[in-house]
């Protein structure tokens, strides 16, 4: 199963980006904007269908909006998201993983690495 979405979550699915709000917005702003977006998505309005993130435009869904509202209602979680949302956007799109030929291979992966990384076969 892919874990990709989890890895990129702090950037792409940041609740502030999903709701189109700034990190200094109030709690009332979160509720108001979230409710408005849910209404717009409920009526399938194109203007609500995507949002901009540092990783480029992304699809906005009702589930994402609800999750974003829930995350920003929780003070502790909100702090973490504020950190990510206040990072300056990358000047260029994120780089793809380094190609093997552009850097030295480094130490060969050892058999013990499987266990240390928690690999299981099922």
């Amino acid at each position: 199963m892919s874990q990709k979405s989890d890895e990129f979550e702090p950037l792409g699915d940041n609740p502030f980006h999903v709701l189109g709000l700034r990190p200094d917005c109030t709690r009332v702003d979160v509720e108001r904007e979230g409710q408005k977006l849910l209404g717009m998505l409920g009526l399938k309005l194109k203007s609500a269908a995507t949002y901009m993130s540092p990783l480029g435009p992304r699809a906005r869904t009702e589930d994402k909006v609800r999750a974003a509202m829930a995350a920003l209602r929780d003070h502790e979680k909100r702090l973490g998201h504020e950190f990510w949302a206040s990072l300056p956007p990358p000047a260029t799109p994120p780089k793809p993983p380094p190609a093997p030929e552009t850097r030295g291979p480094g130490p060969a992966p050892l058999a013990e690495a499987f266990a240390a990384l928690g690999w299981r076969r099922s």
């Binding site: 009332v28 994120p94 992966p109 099922s122």
Partner: protein, 819 residues
């Protein structure tokens, strides 16, 4: 058109049930034919098959116990049939619950003049999925067209928040019911109520007080030489009578200093005995104190989990019949250093909150009338209830074509009091508008919707009005228990974490373990859905299963085939699941909602014996390690096993409820023991964490992307914190994240897939489909020779899907057919 909205809420309780209505401004309790807002959850079926409900039935509970049933809520979701001897009929628990709901529905009709078609029904926060499903079924049987289920503590909180003016800060809802205890930590800010977390004990309630009094009364009888045994079926009638007398004495002691427990004409061992003893309040408080202390310990655990310090609460709301007892109110208030909220009725608060929530959910109780369309049809989206004073109304024309005069190009919303109008707003290119509206606080606000065509002439719109109630609202209700899919490895693929906002939907791609031939009658791929907080599936409760049978397959399914499984939960926690198999383009949707398993006393007894054996080993080990915390937890286990033993004895005496209680207690005991084992494994876990840190630091540094490196720093700190705090569950969680980041970076090493491939290829002889696995190995070798890393990755991932799971793991993983 009716001006005031009507919302109905129902508290379907174990002992009593209540209905309430809300008109957007005030909540009113619904009175039954006897004039009481409280209807006992008791059903009687007489010899002629006549059904009576409530107080009329309750009168026969003692004199005609075989035909009068109570406390059936505790059996909801089980296959336990309840027999009515005189009529010679059997009823399922949800059928009896439906009788109570039908009676309450009729009470609403008699009082308000409307037979409600929709309502909100409360359920305990820790109800399992089969139990919530049975509650929905009961509502359907009672004639409701649509219901939403709401967790009881949220309902109480909503009602308390609506009533109490001072709404700021953190507060507790302490809900002690007849058989369950729930506590919720809430926070109110800016008119929005948020459930921070909840906890509870499924086996703690007013019944524990009753049984403590019964045991005390039995001990008094023993002084007269009369031996009454709760486990003896021959004594069941006597015990029932004593319990009724004990309940009455307990209620009387809320006001008086002493009360009599009188049960004349008990037949014990062939002789008659009149029980008549006096219980004073001090003795009652002593008898009840252990159960109250247990509830307070649960509250402390919840506060600690959310970092709320002693004295950090603004108030506690006490709910449920047993919380009326002065000793409960005093001990809770003193020990948690928080004043109780005054002026709230603990018996009806849940129903009131359910009615308010019906407004939040836009669940108007009146049956939908079919009315002719009165203008250009508009789809509208707005909150039926809003804490915000300026929420948005979003609208869109259903039809944008037609005679130019009948198509609106501008809209306006105006409040019915004439004090606020929106500007005229042009519709956008999708025929839509988004308008903020201004609400009058704590009132139902009616807005009229007006339209103008391109020539500036009025166009009628349908609907012509909409209503928004301003007041305290609840954020999306949180899921009370984690839900996931049991895998063949006995791991759980978590779909929704506890606390996730509802409704929710999520899809993951799983892979089949075995192949299933098309048409094979007995071959089935089982996808078990489990609920619980543990990483291992066998410790979680099986709450449903989706089965893909060979008979229904259009084509043979290879092992390792992809299954895209979507699980969806509605606001009340009801679940639906859907499995798409892309390879053959087939969809499976029928989820078997499992019943709560039968609890056979013999099976329970053998589980207790096995658990005691395990307990002995762990205790020896804990003493050797001088692990005080483990020793304490094992003492708790021992005490719980003693309780289970008593319940099994009661189950042998015919008490089906006690059998279910014992079954659930054994699952909780299993989890407690698992915690101790985790503790025992601490040195190993700690070593794993240190090693993972060493390995992953290098990989993430060399091959991680910048955001991964930042996240890694945070995770490494969290790992250290969990190690310092010696918190095995948290360490496991952080370790998973650490390994994921490490694996992700490791995967970018040029030789990573070569090594993963070689590791998998070494085990090819054990594959579920050896021929296919060998072909994949050949393909992999070719990719390796060509230096095609991408092809090698694809081959290795396919190969993994063919490698076997250990049979023992699979058995524990509820016979899961996916990984």
């Amino acid at each position: 058109m009716t001006s005031a909205p009507l919302y109905v809420g129902i508290d379907l309780g174990t002992t009593n049930s209540t209905a309430a209505v809300f008109d957007g401004e005030k909540v009113a309790l619904v009175r039954n034919a006897q004039g009481s807002p409280i209807t006992p959850s008791v059903v009687r079926i007489d010899a002629r098959g006549n059904v009576s409900v409530g107080a009329r039935a309750r009168r026969f509970l003692d004199s005609d116990a075989d035909n009068t049933r109570s406390e059936f809520k505790r059996l909801m979701g089980t296959a336990q049939a309840i027999r009515f001897a005189a009529a010679g009929v059997e009823r399922r628990p949800e059928e009896l619950a439906a009788e109570v709901l039908r009676s309450l529905r009729a009470d609403v009709r008699d009082q308000i003049g409307v037979l409600p078609a929709r309502a909100v029904i409360s359920v305990p926060a820790l109800f399992e999925l089969p139990q919530t499903s049975a509650t929905s079924e009961a509502a359907r049987l009672a004639g409701f067209e649509r219901v939403e289920l709401l967790q009881e503590p949220i309902a109480s909180a909503l009602a308390a928040g609506w009533t109490v003016e001072d709404q700021g800060g953190a507060w507790l809802v302490y809900d002690l019911g007849g058989g369950t205890f729930d506590v919720s930590l809430l926070e109110t800010r800016d008119g929005l109520l948020r459930v921070v977390g909840h906890d509870g004990d499924n086996f703690l309630g007013g019944r524990d007080f009753d049984w403590a009094i019964v045991d005390w009364a039995i001990a008094q009888a023993a002084r007269d030489g009369v031996v009454i045994t709760r486990a003896d079926p021959a004594h069941a009638a006597a015990v029932r009578k004593i319990k009724l007398a004990a309940e009455e004495a307990k209620i009387e002691l809320s006001r008086a200093e002493s009360a009599s427990i009188t049960a004349p004409g008990l037949t014990v061992g062939g002789t008659d005995y009149d029980l008549d003893v006096t219980l004073d309040r001090e003795t009652l408080e002593r008898l009840c104190a252990p159960a109250i202390d247990r509830s307070i310990a649960v509250c402390r655990r919840l506060l600690q989990a959310h970092g709320v310090a002693e004295g950090g609460l603004t108030r506690v709301v006490l709910v449920g019949g047993p919380s009326v007892m002065p000793v409960v109110r005093r001990l809770v208030s003193e020990q948690l250093s928080v004043p109780p909220a005054e002026g709230l009725d603990p018996m009806t608060l849940v129903a009131q909150g359910a009615a308010i929530f019906a407004a939040t959910a836009g669940l108007e109780a009146r049956p939908a009338a079919i009315e002719p369309v009165r203008g250009a049809k508009v789809w509208l989206q707005y909150p039926a209830m809003s804490s915000d004073l300026t929420p948005h109304v979003v609208g869109r024309l259903v039809e944008r074509t037609g005679p130019v005069n009948s198509v609106p190009t501008e809209v306006q919303l105006g409040r019915s009091d004439g004090l606020w109008d929106s500007p005229w707003t042009p519709l956008d290119e999708e025929g839509a508008f988004v308008l903020p509206v201004s609400l009058v606080p704590r009132k139902p606000n009616v807005f009229r919707l007006a339209g103008k065509n391109i020539q500036g002439n009025a166009v009628a719109l349908d609907p012509p009005t909409l209503t928004i109630v301003q007041g305290l609202t609840i954020s999306d209700p949180p899921l009370s228990r984690t839900i996931g899919v049991a895998l063949a490895s006995n791991d759980v693929r978590v779909y929704f974490e506890r606390g996730a906002p509802l409704p929710a939907r999520r899809t993951f791609t799983l892979h089949t373990v075995d192949s299933v031939a098309r048409g094979a009658e007995k071959a089935v791929i089982k996808i078990p859905i489990v609920q619980g907080e543990y990483e291992q599936a066998h410790l979680c409760r099986l709450v449903g299963a989706l089965e893909i049978g060979g008979k229904e397959l259009k084509q043979t399914l290879a092992s390792g085939a992809e299954v895209e499984l979507t699980i969806e939960l509605d606001r009340g926690g009801r679940m639906s699941a859907r499995a798409l198999i892309p390879a053959i383009g087939q969809v499976f949707e029928s989820v078997a909602h499992l019943l709560v398993p039968e609890a056979d006393p013999e099976v329970l007894e053998s589980t207790v014996t096995a658990t005691r054996g395990r307990l002995g080993e762990l205790r020896t080990d804990a003493f050797r390690r001088q692990a005080r915390d483990s020793i304490e937890r094992l003492t708790q286990v021992e005490s719980a096993l003693d309780d289970v033993g008593r319940d099994i004895a009661a189950a042998r005496g015919g008490d089906a409820d006690a059998a279910q209680k014992a079954r659930r207690a054994l699952i909780e005991v299993d989890a407690l023991i698992e915690g101790v084992e985790l503790d025992r494994r601490w040195p190993e876990l700690d070593r794993e964490a240190r090693e993972a840190l060493i390995w992953t630091t290098g990989w993430v540094q060399d091959y991680g992307q910048p955001h991964e490196q930042t996240l890694y720093q945070e995770t490494a700190k969290a790992v250290e914190k969990a190690r310092q705090g010696r918190d095995p569950l948290e360490l496991q969680r952080q370790l998973r994240l650490l390994r994921r980041l490490g694996s992700s970076a490791y995967g970018r090493h040029p030789e990573a897939w070569k090594h993963r491939f070689e590791d998998a290829a070494a085990d090819v002889g054990n594959a579920t489909d050896v021929a296919r696995a060998q072909a994949l190995v050949k393909e992999g070798r070719e990719a390796l020779a060509k230096g095609d890393n991408e092809a090698l990755r694809r081959v290795t991932q396919k190969l993994w899907q063919l490698l076997p799971s250990a049979p023992e793991d699979r058995r524990k993983g509820h016979e899961s057919g996916v990984r």
